[in-house]
Structure formats: structure tokens, C-alpha cells
Symmetry: C2
Subunit: 284 residues, 2 copies
């Protein structure tokens, strides 16, 4: 398969190496041409202009600084018959704009968000989200899977890859990490050692996995009944937990925000529902 990679920074370089190792014909272009040297040494063809890179392959990967740089790459190009996969960091709104810009020039467009480090490119466990033109995904799934074992198509809306990434990384992962550090600071202030706390990491990670899957099922089926602890039971437990943290001199910002969310859900009439009903009252 012929692939041109526009942008050979850490991530673009990792892409090029994995694809060459997979036997593909890789053409590289970089604004600073010398940066391509380690890749041409491995067998990549070097394009001296964007036009050459576009001519060399029908499949074009853009991994540059930002969305303005993507636009600069392609503004003078004719892209009939070409497919652009945009791995450059941006927002959902920029993905929508980029799709319009590129399809107007004749290209098919896929917007990708990389949820992995450069070192993980090529691994079975690495995750990249793809949104936009589903035909692109179906036709190139083999190449995509070489780059990351998890190559998930997340919808025709080009912003969806960004939305998924923001939801999982910013909304879930970073909040969970914030909660852990708030919990750890509290426990240590009360004389619990980090090692005692650490003994339960696997237990609570597995517990979380089970409960997340229960919640997905509840949301999918819009069934928020429960014969276990109700939202109001959690509300009361969290209020008491927050008070213990405050009494211990902690800020408890995330626990307070969580308490507030549950208070809003309870006031909206979900006190006897499962904890998962909080998803219904997250709007501003």
C-alpha cells in the first residue's frame, strides 16, 4: 500500500516506521526536510514538496502542528481520488471545518484522534478513534489496525473522534485521577500509608469496571431501577465522606462537585433510582 505521511515529528515518525516494517511504500514530507533523514535511512521516499507527497500516494496522513498547518498543506492541492486522514490535534468544531475544506477539494476525509503515546504506535493495545467517512475506515482498516490494534470508527460526524477523546480522557480518566489524589491526600493526612492505600488499587479498578458496565446497560435500556443502594443512599454516604475530608482539613473539591451532581439528580426526582440516573441531569 502506498501511503504519504505529511509531518514527521515524534508521532509521524512512529507511523512511518510501523508502516515500513509492515512492507508499505511510505513517502514522507516535513516542513524541515532534514527531519526526514532517519526515515529515508530506513527506506522511506522523501517528497520535496507537498504536491509530490500528494502525487505519490492516494492515502495521505496529516500529522502536523495544528489545524492551520493542515489547511496550509492542502490549500493549493487538487485532491480528486485522494483520501486524507487527519491525525493532527484539534477540536470537534475544527474537524467539521476541515472536512468541508478537504471534501470541497475532492478528497474523502477521516478525522482521527490518537489515544496513545508515540512509543505505543504499532501495538495491539494502542487506541485511535476515527470519525467521518465510514468507507475510508472500511477500506483502510488493515492499515489502521497495523498502526493501533484498537482502531475504532466512532461515527460519521467528523467531530466524534474528538468528542470521544474529550469524554474519556478529560471527563472520565482525569476526573478519576483527581478523585484518587484527593482520596490519597485525605487518607495520608489521617495516617494511612500510601502502601496501605495501594493494596486496594486492583480491587477498586475491578469494582469500577463492573459498575461501569452495569451503568452502560442501564443507560442503553433507559432502566434506572435498582434493588441495591439507591442514588439517595449514595448521596448520604458521599455527604458524610465529604464531611470527614473537610474535618481533616482537605479541600474535597471533586467530592463536593460529585455531591452537588447527586443533589441535583435527587431534587429532579431520581433519589430512588440507581446511581446511574445522574446521567439524566448533567445539563447546565
Amino acid at each position: 500500500m502506498k501511503v504519504s505521511i505529511l509531518g514527521t515529528g515524534l508521532m509521524g515518525g512512529a507511523f512511518a516506521r510501523v508502516l515500513m516494517a509492515g512492507g508499505h511504500d511510505v513517502t514522507v514530507w516535513n516542513r524541515t526536510p532534514e527531519r526526514c533523514a532517519p526515515l529515508t535511512a530506513l527506506g522511506a521516499a522523501q517528497a520535496s514538496t507537498v504536491r509530490e507527497a500528494v502525487a505519490a500516494s492516494d492515502l495521505l496522513f496529516a500529522i502536523v502542528l495544528d489545524q492551520d498547518a493542515v489547511r496550509e498543506l492542502f490549500e493549493d492541492q487538487v485532491l480528486e481520488g485522494k483520501t486524507v486522514v487527519n491525525y493532527t490535534t484539534g477540536t470537534a468544531a475544527q474537524a467539521v471545518a476541515q472536512q468541508s475544506f478537504l471534501t470541497a477539494r475532492g478528497a474523502r476525509y477521516s478525522d482521527a484522534v490518537i489515544a496513545a503515546y508515540p512509543d505505543d504506535i504499532g501495538s495491539r493495545d494502542a487506541l485511535i478513534y476515527y470519525a467521518g467517512d465510514e468507507r475510508v475506515h472500511r477500506e483502510h482498516i488493515d492499515v489502521f489496525t497495523e498502526l493501533s490494534g484498537l482502531a475504532q470508527f466512532v461515527g460519521a460526524e467528523p467531530g466524534n473522534a474528538n468528542v470521544l477523546d474529550a469524554a474519556w480522557v478529560g471527563g472520565f480518566h482525569c476526573v478519576a485521577m483527581g478523585g484518587f489524589h484527593e482520596a490519597a491526600a485525605f487518607a495520608m493526612s489521617e495516617g494511612v500509608t500510601i502502601d496501605t492505600l495501594a493494596d486496594s488499587v486492583d480491587y477498586y479498578v475491578e469494582f469500577l469496571r463492573g459498575v461501569l458496565k452495569e451503568s452502560v446497560k442501564a443507560i442503553r435500556e433507559s432502566d434506572f431501577g435498582t434493588d441495591q443502594a439507591t442514588l439517595d443512599v449514595y448521596l448520604s454516604g458521599i455527604r458524610s465522606c465529604r464531611q470527614s475530608m473537610i474535618d481533616a482539613g482537605q479541600r474535597a473539591g471533586l467530592v463536593s462537585a460529585n455531591l452537588h451532581s447527586l443533589e441535583i439528580a435527587s431534587a429532579a426526582g431520581h433519589g430512588s433510582d440507581s446511581l446511574y440516573a445522574q446521567v439524566l441531569t448533567m445539563k447546565a
Copy 2:
């Protein structure tokens, strides 16, 4: 082993059944004596008074309504040579008071917090925290492990079992669940289906496990350097994620609280440290 169980509600009943199945001599007492019938049918001896229950065994498990009920149980008893394990729900401060009250009457005291449902008692994966007298834990670890495969001693401070429970359940688990529901509400408001979101549950749970373990190591070694993304890089990503949520009409309470925590950590000079340095600035 002779064990008396004071309180045969859902949890106390589960304890009695598991211990009888393990071949122990179980004596039960309940304020409403008829509630003991299912257990005596299985071979438990029934004490008609607390005094009888105390006389029957040196190992006494209290699983009653609240800490006032625990005090009522024992206020007229002589407890020389007895060991009281208090599984009743309470706070860290109540655990401290209960230890004073019971050791003054001659008992050894262990304060336990059950992080499991009644149905899980007796399983290898169930978790119960024990704090207080470490000799009690060493002597009775076999019985404790029959009740829950994970029977963790968490320190001589009797409130520590409560602190661990509040930290993990209120501080970590519930905050992580709040983050997930905030993320899910946002993603669905942008047209992402719950099934698309669900496809990444295992990925992000495993990612979280790895990062939590890295954080534990950083905190243990007080080493908050990083050659990966710095706290300020996360701060900027989370600010942008929060803005996407707000633009989509979401409240974003937990993401906002997390942003605030990181702003405080950055302002305190930890912007170039790892994300884990936030643990240093959680005090009020």
C-alpha cells in the same frame, strides 16, 4: 472456633452462614429473637440475652444498626478475655470512641468496614478492612479470610478502616462514576451512542490501573518528575475539554472541579511536574 454474632440482619446472617459452613460453633443473638430462626435451623445456637452470647464465645462480632446500638449491647458487660470485632457502620471518630469504651471494659478491639454486599460474604474477592488491635488480626486472620478473601489490616488507628473506605468509595469510586456519567451525558449530547462509548470501557479501565500504579510509586518515592506530559499539559487539555462540554450545554461540575485542583497545583509551582503532584496541594 466459637464465635458469637450480635445482630442477624442481612450482613450478620451472611456471616453466620459462612462461618457455620466453615465448621465453626456459631451463637447468634438478635434484638428481635424470631429473626434468628433461619440460622438456628442451620445449626446456630441462639442466645436469649447479650450476656449469654458474650459467655458463649471469646470472639464477638457486632453487626447492628449503628454505634449507639453497639454501646447498648456492651455497656453492662464485663469483657475481660473477650475480643470484639465491630462491623457496624460508623465514622472514624466513632471507631476511636468505641475502642476506648470497649477496651475500658477489658476487651480487645478491632474496627471493621465491609466493602462488599451480603451476597459476596465468603467469596475470595470480597474486601473487609480491619483497624485497631493488630494482635486480633493476626490471631483471627483465618476466620476473617473465610468471611472475605481480602481481609486487610490497615493500621492501629481504629478509625483507619473508615478512612480507607471513605477514601476509596467516596473519594475515588464515586468521583470516577460521576466523571463517567458527566462524560457520557456530554458524548451523547453530541450524537455519540452509548455503545460507541462502551467500546472503550476496558481500554480506559486498564489505562487507569496503569496510571494509578505509576502514581502510587511517585507518591511513595516523592518523585514527581516526568518526561511525559506535565501537569500544565493536562491543565491545558482539561481546560479545552471543559470548554467543549460547556459549549455543548453541559454543567461539567466534576471537570471544573478537577480543572480547579490542577490550577491550584500549577500556581503552587507544580506545572512542570507529573500530574501526580496534585496530591501535594489538596489541603483546604
